[in-house]
């Protein structure tokens, strides 16, 4: 093999230099995936710093636990929920007619249960620091507040108070408290007003062009759960609102 000329060697070295510089330049690009404040300028708003795009229409795709999620299961069917005996006694008294009469037909649409229902989501930015999620099933709205938002005083609500935080991994972390007690499952499996919720929202892109939002949820409730109740829900992105179908809360369906 002929010895490499100086010229060739220099070209090769220059090529490597270019590769190295390109590598260096690519680092800030990767780093920018984190929700960093603008360098040398004012901090970016959570909206501007969003490492993933959660906005748009999403449909829940229910491929497991179908009979617990697509229809209301029968009374006493508590399989797979690590409930306490006290929770069982509450659930055993489930009476959808009573819930309706008391105006509590939205008990299974609270934050700890609603993400597991068959539904569509519409996610938008309400403002630079508030992500809004409208849910057609039960016509619910969840608000995710970034920054130093302070929850207003007042009664607990179905959707509670949610604090939001971008994580370095390109994920949205939500912590929800101040919940009005509701149902984890439509047949009356309860969570209490002391329950708190931690969620992670991730977005993945598939080879077939589909985009999915994955919501991993941990419910902790010292009163009604023996263990953290860890579940996930999966939502496929839809192109538009053509299948958006708001329906009122129902205790029976």
């Amino acid at each position: 093999m002929a010895p490499r000329s100086n010229s060739t060697s220099r070209k090769s070295r220059s090529g490597w230099l270019l590769v190295a510089v390109a590598g260096l330049l690519s680092v800030p690009l990767a780093d920018a995936q984190a929700p960093a404040a603008g360098r040398g300028g004012p901090p970016q708003s959570p909206k501007a710093a969003a490492p993933i795009d959660l906005t748009g229409y999403w449909v829940s795709v229910i491929t497991e636990e179908w009979r617990y999620r697509m229809v209301t299961p029968g009374p006493g069917d508590y399989l797979l929920i690590p409930m306490t005996l006290e929770a069982k006694s509450v659930a055993d008294a489930w009476d959808p007619a009573k819930d309706e009469a008391a105006g509590n037909q939205c008990k299974s649409y609270g934050a700890a249960g609603v993400m597991r229902l068959p539904e569509r989501l519409h996610v938008t930015w309400q403002d630079d620091t508030t992500l809004r999620m409208d849910i057609d099933s039960g016509t619910q709205t969840r608000l995710y507040h970034f920054g130093d938002w302070k929850a207003p005083n007042g009664d607990a609500t179905w959707q509670g108070d949610s604090l939001a935080q971008w994580e370095r991994a390109g994920s949205l972390k939500i912590t929800t408290t101040h919940l009005r007690g509701g149902y984890l499952r439509k047949n009356g499996v309860p969570y209490s007003e002391n329950a708190n919720l931690m969620e992670h929202y991730d977005v993945v892109h598939e080879r077939n062009g589909e985009t999915w939002m994955i919501v991993t949820t941990t419910v902790r409730d010292p009163r009604y759960l023996r263990l953290p109740y860890i579940t996930a829900a999966q939502f496929k992105k839809e192109p538009d609102a053509s299948r958006w179908d708001p329906t009122p809360c129902s205790s029976r369906w």
Partner: protein, 294 residues
């Protein structure tokens, strides 16, 4: 600084700074199964709700008898890598590195007693020819997409996508995203099968790091035994003869059109189709999950 020194310094810096970009998350360890899904004890024989089966898939599923698992030829058959997403076990993961560079060349997922180990090749090697041998563990490659490990598996053997005989063909492919949040690991997968599915199926399940309950790196050896089926016979049901076709309807009032699956059963609007047919069943008397303790 000479050109040479500058070159090496820049290259070294680029490499060093790139490491966190391409290998940000440590997935190694024993991850306990935390999905409280309906298949812990296995699904009922004809329970296809939420599966996008096409007509061929449904027909094949209805021909399946669970006694097939007792055939000597099938006792050690192993599930395909899709079992990662439908089985009831935790997973153990570790990485294998190039001893010279320290760079991860593969992630390994330990075997279960009924699933072969998986190797996720991270070194950029291509998938084999479509005509290459299909292994029990399939062939899997992976890439980091920011802090998510995305894997792609091909060359699986024909198997099932639910543990009741709903079939998957040897043309099935699976994409899995490994997403770690602190001690939680979420796996979300898309499985495509041009033979038995009318559209892809998507699953998500959770695992939790549990160093106090280490998972073995290899499952126990499989030993065949006489479990009853006569030699040479393949337990099955002829068309229209599956005795379990109405079991979900009898037990839970699930309409047959839901029980038999199909892509539409995955979506919310399917509820409208069965709303007038579904009645909340009576009090649960079997497999109800009644809590014990406090």
């Amino acid at each position: 600084m000479t050109d040479s020194k500058r070159f090496f310094a820049l290259t070294l810096l680029a490499v060093v700074l790139h490491v966190p970009v391409s290998a940000q998350v440590d997935l190694s360890g024993s991850w306990a199964y935390r999905s409280l899904l309906g298949n812990v004890g296995g699904p009922r024989p004809v329970d296809y709700e939420g599966l996008p089966l096409n007509d061929a898939g449904r027909a094949r599923a209805l021909s399946y008898s669970e006694s097939q698992l007792s055939m000597p030829e099938r006792q050690c058959m192993f599930y395909a890598p899709t079992y990662l997403m439908i089985g009831p076990f935790g997973i153990k993961m570790w990485n294998e590195t190039n001893p010279d560079s320290g760079i991860t060349i593969a992630w390994k997922i330990a075997a279960w007693e009924d699933r072969a180990p998986m190797t996720i090749w991270m070194d950029g090697r291509p998938h084999p020819s479509k005509n290459a041998y299909h292994d029990k563990g399939g062939f899997t490659t992976g890439v980091w997409e920011h802090e998510i490990l995305t894997t792609y598996t091909t060359h699986m053997k024909a198997n099932m996508i639910r543990r009741n005989g709903t079939p998957s063909s040897d043309q099935t492919t699976m994409t899995v995203h490994f997403i770690r949040h602190d001690d939680l690991l979420t796996l979300t997968a898309t499985v495509e099968d041009p033979i038995y599915l009318s559209e892809p199926i998507h699953w998500t399940r959770m695992f939790q790091l549990d160093p106090e309950a280490p998972i073995a790196s290899a499952g126990p050896p499989c030993t065949q035994a006489d479990e009853g089926p006569p030699e040479g016979a393949v337990p099955h049901y002829l068309p229209g003869k599956n005795p379990f076709i109405d079991e979900m309807t009898r037990l839970y009032n699930i309409p047959e059109e839901a029980v038999l699956g199909g892509a539409e059963t995955m979506y919310p609007e399917f509820r409208k189709k069965i709303k007038d047919k579904y009645v909340i069943p009576g009090k649960c008397v079997r497999d109800c999950g009644t809590p014990t303790g406090r």
